[in-house]
Amino acid sequence: MDSDQEDFVFHGTPIEREEDHSSRKKKALAESSGNLRSLPAWKQEVRDEEGRRRLHGAFTGGFSAGYYNTVGSKEGWTPQSFTSSRKNRAEVKQQSLVNFLDEDEKAELEGRSLAASSKFDTFGFTAAEFARKQAEKENRSRPSAIPGPVPDEIILPAAESIGIQLLKKMGWRHGHSIKDSHSSSLYEARREARRAFLSFTSDEAKPMLSTSMPAENNFEDVLDKSAEDDDKSPKITPVYMLKPKQDLHGLGYDPYKHAPEFRESKRLRTAGGRAHGQRARDNLFGLNSGNIAPGFGIGALEELDVEDEDVYGSGYDFEETLIEEAEEPAKLSIELHNNRPRLTDKEHGILAGFQLASNSDYQLERFEPPRIPKEYEPIHKFSGPLEIGSRLSDPPPLEVAPPEDSNLKVLIEGVATLVARCGKIFEDLSREKNQSNPLYSFLNGGKFYDYYSRKLWEERQKRNQTRPLLDRDDSSVSKMTAETRGRILGERPLERSSVAPISFDTHAGVKFHTNLVDTFTKPIVFNELLKVSKPFKDDPAKQERFEQFLKEKYQGGLRSTDSGGTSYMSESVRARERLDFEAAAEAIEKAQLAKSSTLNKHSMEFSVGAMQFTSGGIEDAKSVQVDELPGKILPKREEFQWRPSPILCKRFDLIDPYMGKPAPAPRIRSKLDSHFFIPDSFKASGTEEKVASRGDALPMTQSQMSENTNLVEKEPEVQMEIENVERPVDLYKAIFSDDSEDEGETSAVNKVENPEKKVEAANATLNRLMAGDFLESLGKELGLEVPPDLPPSLDKARDPLHKEVPHVNDIGNSTVSEFTKEDKSLEARELVQNLSIDGKKYASNDSLHKRSDDPSFGSVPQNDGKMRSLYDQSDSSPSEDERSRKVSKRHQYSSYSDSDSSEQRHHSSSKRRKSHSSREREKPSSRRKHSKHRKHRDKDSPERSRHRSKRERDESKRDKRR
């Protein structure tokens, strides 16, 4: 066999075995055809024609993506989503072959379409189409930057015709004119830039796809023209540029969408504009002349060249378009009326499509001003003579003795008054009426005409005086004549002194205003009041108001609502001031009356007394007695200031009368007083005394009353003396007197009358001092000694503020201590100062003080008169003192232990015992309390504890009051 084999002669190349070559292919084929089907799904492999497995990516399915590259879904096809046939009625779908073709089938199909080969593709249609397809294909094959199908409009593959290709091969470029170019590259660049700029201005930038033909045309043009004209070369091949957006509309907005006729007009206009421009360009230098840069001149030998064109300046055309846009209507009208010259400014506002009317119907009507009658005079003339002026300027007629006949006199006076009131007309009337009546002869210049005229003048003066007095007070003073002044002052002319006052009731039964005025006026009083007393001297404004008030009070008649600048004051302030004024006026009036009866020296005292009112705001209480019926003492009415809390006002839905005003500053004096105890005896006897005095006072005559008030007013001085005598010490001074002396603080205070008593009292008070402990301890702390004795003159130095301090003898010692403790803080600085200065003098004299304790303790009783006077003083003094005393009296109940005063207390509380049956029962218990207190006192250190409790109570009290 082998030999056989060797004998074979091989010719040619042996045919390659197909197995090796396409084993994979076959395998794939075999697998795909049959046996693979039998395999379970997870063993099946999908391979392409080449038998390769396709890997889709590790995370996108690997080799088995898309159901092993078979279909897009489990079912095999993407099911059509349900669409309701209600809206979309089964539309017949136009199906074409393409719908059913695969990609590669399509590709095959494509090859069959008829197209010009690129060789003969003169206009590049085929090339363009081909290029497009090529691009598409490329696009599909490689991932593009823009996901999804790129719109054809954006990517336009350059399709060049064979001609352009040829030109390009010859060195031509897009945008170049076809000529042999000798110009530099710079030149070219500049021209290109310019051209681009120009193309902006032109409306028709050709869309690329449609430009092939015009381009060719242009080429022809260019080729034609380039030979003849080198320089003038705006005819160039257009660069493919999209239409620039030149308007201000939104993207895609077409203003002429629904009005194509306007698009036409716009096109016309722009065309006209360009035609204009092109016209300019047509002549040789026309174009350039419009575009020469403003800064650069041309030399004499130079030609105006393209290079000299203003590249950066806004082109002529550009400018014009801007203007066109702005002034569209005007432009339009220009277009429409070409024959007409430019429209004037006035016609600018015409709407497009409207013409100005040649003549308007509207005409401005003008009226003649009213004619002023010739006899008109711009100044008003009064029919009668001006009375006021004449009245004051006329010399007064002479004083004439009144007629003896009283009737006649009354008549004359009455008529005069009437005439003064009603004017001259009344005189004329009555003269006419009573011509025959001999009684009225005085009107006609009869016997008593002089008297009548005098009376008339007087009445007029009076009217003149009384009426304007309310508003002009001081100004009238300067115009006063002797007569008027005399009248105001109540001085009557001597002749008339015997004459009875005018009574109008007898005459004609008419009551006159003047009559009223007469009855209400007390000229004597108020003028003298004004003269004599100025209680508000230190506050001129207030004084003025006070005078005004007096005038109004005594003047009667009408009152002006706004009296003298009080309008800015609040209602409450005004009311308070009014109260002040009334009180002051009353006091002054009484004083005045008293003055007339008594000596002149009192006048000094009104001012003193009246000065009380100046402090009005602080002195919050004035006892204004109202309507005391004769024989009935009570009820007695008093008024106080009372400050309701803001929340109370709010709850009562009222406006806080003290809104915005600071709380009244606690007065030192009242504070002092509140710490001193007045024994009940004081109070009780005082009330009785008061009642008695009132009972006495009432039946008094007016003058006596006034005297009494004078006395009351005078009392302060007297009482001050008394107090100075009685009051042993001012406490501070009692304690620290030598310091004050050392410091030279001695103020002008009355001398002590009985120094021994003073000293005794001072010692007593000091002995009772709880503060003794305090002082001692303080002294110890400071390392000082308290002086063993106090100099007798220590009470000299006394603060005038503390004048109303009640009798010290009656002060419970605990109070004193309390007081000192209380005011410790207030006076701490002073105290410390004093101590540091002369502390050594404060030897610990506690024992000494205690020794003198006993005698002074019982030295309470005072003589009655003094107490009464004191009480009166307190009565006339502001109520706060009184109130505080009451408060202090209250304190006594718990603390006071003197037998004397306890008796008094029983007396005073007898009323209360009566008041309620149930209280009867409680009385013993309260008394028990007292007794307890007493017991406490006997104990070791009772005072301190009591003192503390009381202080607390006091403080709470004060807090509450606040």
Binding site: K632, R637, I647, S915, R919
Partner: protein, 299 residues
């Protein structure tokens, strides 16, 4: 109104209080009445039908005065336990207790808007309490009295208090002013006339005094009854034509307002007549007495 129209016929006797009845008050429309007494209770009655409606118990001591808001929703009461109780009428619970008086509280009143309670105490003070806030502190303390304040009256703008110190003090909130009318005799009870121009003050000298509020003038004095040691009410009739008040001997007196003559007096109770209250519209009156009864009088 003639004397025959005076309520002199006893219609009902309201019994229930154990011990003395200290006050009996009509409510604002006169359909109900409140009473309080030494048995530490407040009782609500219908005096016209003679029915006892409710009892309010919370006070620890005798209840001295009670007042009801115009809308009948709240009560205020005071008494010997030094507290002022603010009640809810329907539930009978105490809404608030105002403590602060140092001793017994004699009288209590609501203001017009029922927002403030003013109480008068034996501690010589008037205290105003705020019903709207939850604070139990007084919003105002008036301590200018120098003795126990027995009675209090309120107008729209004023607080009027009568005290044993003999004064009737009017505190004008609007003007910020206090007017003290000193009657010279301990004032037991004050009551306003219906036109609010006058104050009737019962004094312990067995005299009722009628004061003109604007001037402080004493208009009239009414005498004949006995009033020396008890807190006894007095009031004017609804027409302001007569003055009425009780007496310690159990009588009730009617005076003519103008000429102060005793028009009628009759024995109403066996003991002291502590309280009288006149119906705001009708001729009807209730009286309370120490004998523990409340009697309703009609014409």
């Amino acid at each position: 109104m003639s004397a025959s129209d005076l309520p002199r016929k006893e219609v009902t006797v309201l019994k229930g209080h154990e011990g003395a009845v200290l006050a009996a008050r009509f409510n604002s429309d006169g359909n109900y009445c409140l009473s309080c007494g030494k048995d530490r209770t407040i009782r609500l009655w219908n005096p016209h039908r003679g029915i006892h409606i409710k009892t309010y118990k919370s006070h620890g001591r005798e209840v001295r005065d009670v007042h009801c808001t115009p809308d009948n929703s709240k009560l205020v009461s005071c008494g010997g336990d030094r507290q002022v109780f603010y009640w809810d009428v329907s539930t009978g619970r105490v809404i608030r207790k105002f403590r602060g008086h140092d001793s017994e509280v004699n009288a209590v009143k609501f203001n017009e808007y029922s927002s403030v309670v003013v109480s008068a105490g034996y501690d010589q003070s008037l205290r105003a309490w705020d019903c709207r806030s939850h604070s139990t502190e007084p919003i105002q303390i008036v301590d200018t009295f120098s003795d126990s304040v027995m009675s209090v009256c309120l107008t729209k703008t004023e607080i009027i208090g009568g005290s044993v110190d003999g004064t009737v003090r009017t505190f004008d909130i609007r003007l910020g002013r206090e007017i003290a009318d000193d009657l010279g005799q301990p004032v037991n009870c004050i009551s306003l006339s219906n036109d609010a121009n006058c104050i009737l003050a019962s004094c312990l000298d067995s005299t009722l005094r009628l004061l003109d509020r604007s001037t402080g003038e004493l208009l009239q004095e009414y005498k004949g009854h006995t009033c020396k040691s008890f807190k006894m009410d007095c009031c004017l009739t609804n027409t302001d034509a007569h003055v009425t008040g009780g007496s310690e001997d159990g009588f009730i007196y009617f005076w003519d307002l103008v000429d102060a003559t005793v028009i009628s007096s009759f024995r109403a109770h066996s003991s002291v007549v502590t309280s009288v209250s006149y119906h705001p519209k009708d001729n009807c009156m209730i009286t309370a007495s120490v004998d523990g009864t409340i009697r309703v009088w009609k014409t």
